[in-house]
Every structure is written in C-alpha cells, then in structure tokens.
Assembly symmetry: C2
Homo-oligomer: 313 residues x 2
C-alpha cells in the first residue's frame, strides 16, 4: 500500500497541489499558475515538477505516492475528458497523461466539483459521513455527490449538475444553458441579486438595499440578517427553490448530509436555516431528513478530495 | 469463483427464485407463496427449501452458488432492513439471515425496485449499458438506479424514490405520502385515470372514454393511440411531468438509458415517444440525451437482478 497521496486541483487560474498522509494530514502544499495558453503538455509538466518539489521537501520517493487529479470539466467513467473548455484542453485522458509525467505512479482523475465533494466528506463539513450532497453557491450553482465514500460520476461525468434543474416556470430570463427558470438563475449569487432588484422594484417598502449601487449577494444576506424585509423576502424566495431541489435530489440519491460551500456559504448558519426550513417541508422525507452543514475546507476542498481519490488506488 | 447465482425476489404474494449461470442464462425457476403470516423464519425456510430444490434438480452443490435477495422495502448500505411493512418484517438483516439458512453461502440483499433495475441492465431492456434509470409505471411510480453496473442504494436504502418528487403545484388532492402534487399522482396508472376524468369533466368534446364506466389507464392509452383528443391531452399532460422529472434526475445522476417498465409500459413505443418528447425539451441535456427503452423481463426482472447482484459476491 502506498504511504502518501498527492491531491491536485487544476483550475483555470492556478493549479493547487497538496501532499497528504493517508490519514488526511496536509503535509506540503503548492500553488502554481495554470499556463494553459502554452498547451496541455506544459501544464502537465508544470504539475509534475511541482509534485516532485513537494515530495522532495519531505524526502519522500514519488513511488510511495498515488495521485488524484481534479479537472474543471466532465470526466466520464473511463477517465476520458471530451472538453475542458476553460483550459482549451480536448479529447484526452487526464489521469493517464499525468501518470506518464509522474514516473507512472497511479493517477486517477475526476471532475473538480465532485472531487471537492469528496474532500468535504473526508476532512471537511461532511467528515464522519459516507453519503453526501455537496452544493457550491457562487456565481453559479454547482454540486457533487458522494455515496458510500465514492464519487457519483454519471455516464458522461455530468452527475451533480443540479444547477440546471428547471425550478421556476415564471422566470422570464434565459439561462446560460438556453433554458428558462434553472436553479442556477434562482439560487446563485447572481440570482439573488437579480431577484433582490425585482423585489425592490415591485414594492415601495423601505429597504437598506436601496442605498447600495453595486448590489452583491453578500449585501442581500447581510441586510436579511439585520431584519430588512425586502432582503428577507428575496432570500426566502430564492432559497425556497434550493430547498425544494435538495428535497428532489434526496428522493433520487438519498444522502445523509447536505454540505453547502462556495462564496455564498459565508452567510453561515442563517443561510443553512433558511434552506433547511424549505427542504423539510416535503413530508415523505420525514424519517430520513438530512443534516445540513457548512463546507469547511474552502478553496482547499479540491486538493483534499483529489488526495482522498488517490487513497483508493 | 462461484459457478452459479440464485436470484430471489420476495414480494407480498409470492417469492420467485431463479437459478442462473454466470452468463445470465435462467436454468431453473420456482415460485412459492410468501407465507409472511407465519413469520419471517418460516418465509426464509421456505425460500431455503426452494433454493435446495432448484439446485438439486441440476445436481449443483449449493456451495457452488451465491445468492441475491430482493426485498420489498428499503435496505440500507449495511444490508439492514428497518421495516418491510407489507410482509410484517422489522429490524433485521435479510441477507445475513437467509445465508444462515442456506449453509452460509454468500447472500446479499437489496430493495426490489433497485434489483429489478439491475436485472433490466443485465439481461433486459438496458442490456449493454452500465448506467441506467429504471422506472416502473403501475399503481404507483417506482424507480431504481444503476451506475457503473452497481445499484445506487442511498444512505437509508431510499434512492430512486422519484415518485414523490413534487412536480405539480396545482394538484388539489393529497398523495399517500402526505404531500400534494407528487409525480406518483400524475404519472401512475391511477394518476392517468384521475386526470382523464378531470379533462372529460372540463370539456364537452366527444371522447370514446365517455362510454367507459370503469376507466383504466389502458383505456386512456388505447384511445390516445386511436386519436381521441381528450385521451391524447391526458397522456400528454401526465407524461409531461414524467419527462420533466427524468430530465431533473438526469442532471443528478447522468444515466445513459431510461428503461420503462410496469403495467403501463404495455402502451409500448407510443408511451416512450410521448415521454421522450417532453424529456428532450431541456436544452442542457442536448449532448447527453438518454436513450429510452421498454423493460423486457416483466415480472422476472427481480430474479435476474438478484442473480446479477450475487455475481459480485
């Protein structure tokens, strides 16, 4: 059995790497620029060099390690990536190619949101659970699913795309996917701001939000916590769609815990309470209600999850 | 490696058993009454006796077999059954108990709808695929999910309960679950009949359905196929909710194929076409549209699936 795991999280701006003990302790960490403009081979060589640096610092032979590789695009169940659009990488096997540059140590790749879900299960907000729905609320709504401590990838690597469940037949604007009324349009930071503006326009009521020019989701949550009625109405409306969607997803995959991360999760317990209050209205769930928790690893969820993925190799 | 698999499907009226080769050929079949009124031990002993009969007929030693056990209730990821209400069985480990009565050969248990999904993947309508959503349309709407050739159980054995996704905010009647507007109320045989009555009451239009006293879902589908406008409107309305739900579920688990079984699937290709037409309206799915197929094994899906489950032991 290998003694260490390397977790790699390849994003559009930087690649994060972590060297972990099998028990989940982060021993060494690195972050390098993603030089995708120079092509895939360069990026993979940069990653390999960084992995050598990390293990070198601890005088650990690379052959005592396995590696997990989180990639910002769909990876199918064969480890194949059709398109990682943001990095201009197409038609390749990320795990296999990285392994070749890492003295052929075992490397397995998966979608980055799914990997982050696994990280939160291993050492984050979902620690102690085996069945988890992880949701990131940021510019968009992303998610990852872990059942029995394994990532659910789906046939095309697209499992957990809950942001495009259609939830609101009354939404007039078109989503980036071409649909109308996606969860993404309601429960993302962008959705919160757009809906707050609508509520403000619809009413004459006093609201602290009216003084803010460049409204953000954080402003709306802060005002809601301070008791602002329009802000509360907005949060309740938008998070109602999220609570309903979590209930729907629970019927499909039956998780134990819902972990919420992403920028919006900084709204903390208040956010959890509002979402949970909507989620628990669905009577069939009574006996098997999920716990709700905040994500705990922030931007490091990806390297933790990738390392956890490597643990099974 | 074991040479044969025994598939067992324990329902409320009968227990079906099949002896299979590892390649999926059904060698021997038996069906016995489920004498649940005499208690769990009697039922398990009846099953063991039947398993001995099946293997005896072929002169196969029981120790050359593994067994899979489909049970009409939720089984959690530890193989534990909290309650199999229809059989009055509570708080037990079905696989473990049956193994004790079967000379301790390996036995694994799972929920019967999930097992049927696996059966359809192995030798039925989903043959050749690894990632499948199986839906049964009968008195209710049931489902089972198979990803990478493995059943998705969920934390409490309740994965695939898609019948209780809330789909229709305008439904006035209460569902058995206590909710209002569940998929079950729209897309089940009962739902089709109730909605046909409503459409008939709402219009003066001619319809062959008006002559039928004891309306069934089959009547509605037959009339729709024959061109009856009210019947077509009913089918389109009810199956629209199913198509939308399949799209939602696809975002969550990303299957390759949707297999539709249950009594209503006798409506055949016409049913598939209507559901698919609604499902494919969701633009984000474009690149990864599922195939749709009819279930192929009828009431034997359970024994096939249970045998396939035993293949992994």
């Amino acid at each position: 059995m290998m003694k260490y795991c390397i977790g790699i999280d390849m994003g559009g701006t930087t690649v994060k790497l972590g060297l972990f003990s099998r028990e989940g302790q982060l021993l060494e960490r690195d972050e390098i620029a993603t030089r995708w403009q120079l092509g895939r081979q360069t990026v993979l060589e940069d990653i390999a060099a960084s992995a050598h640096t990390l293990t070198g610092r601890r005088k650990i032979p690379l052959h005592d390690c396995t590696a997990g590789f989180g990639v910002a695009g769909p990876i199918d169940s064969q480890g194949y990536a059709d398109a990682v659009v943001n990095l201009n990488m197409y038609d390749f096997y990320p795990g296999r190619e990285l392994s070749e540059k890492l003295d052929n140590i075992p490397v397995t790749a998966a979608n980055d949101a799914n990997v982050a879900a696994l990280g939160e299960m291993w050492q984050g907000g979902g620690k102690g659970y085996q069945n988890l729905l992880f949701i990131t609320l940021g510019t968009g709504v992303g998610s990852g699913i872990v059942l029995n401590e394994k990532i659910i990838h789906g046939a095309h690597g697209l499992a957990g795309e809950i942001g495009h469940i259609w939830v609101n037949p009354h939404e007039p604007e078109t989503c980036s996917c071409g649909g109308k009324g996606c969860l993404d349009q309601m429960a993302s930071a962008t959705g919160i701001v757009r809906n707050a503006r609508r509520f403000l326009a619809k009413t004459e009521a006093e609201s602290s939000l009216r003084q803010i020019n460049d409204l953000t989701a954080k402003d709306v949550f802060d005002a809601a916590k301070a008791g602002d009625a329009v802000a509360r109405e907005t949060v309740d409306y938008c998070m109602g769609f999220l609570g309903k969607s979590i209930a729907d997803v629970s019927y499909v995959i039956d998780p134990e815990i819902v972990v919420i991360g992403g920028g919006m999760s900084k709204a903390g317990q208040y956010l959890l309470d509002v979402v949970f209050d909507h989620y628990r209205r669905y009577p069939k769930l009574k006996k098997t209600l999920c716990r709700f928790a905040l994500a705990d690893l922030g931007g490091d969820a990806g390297i933790y999850g990738a390392a956890r993925l490597a643990l099974d190799l």
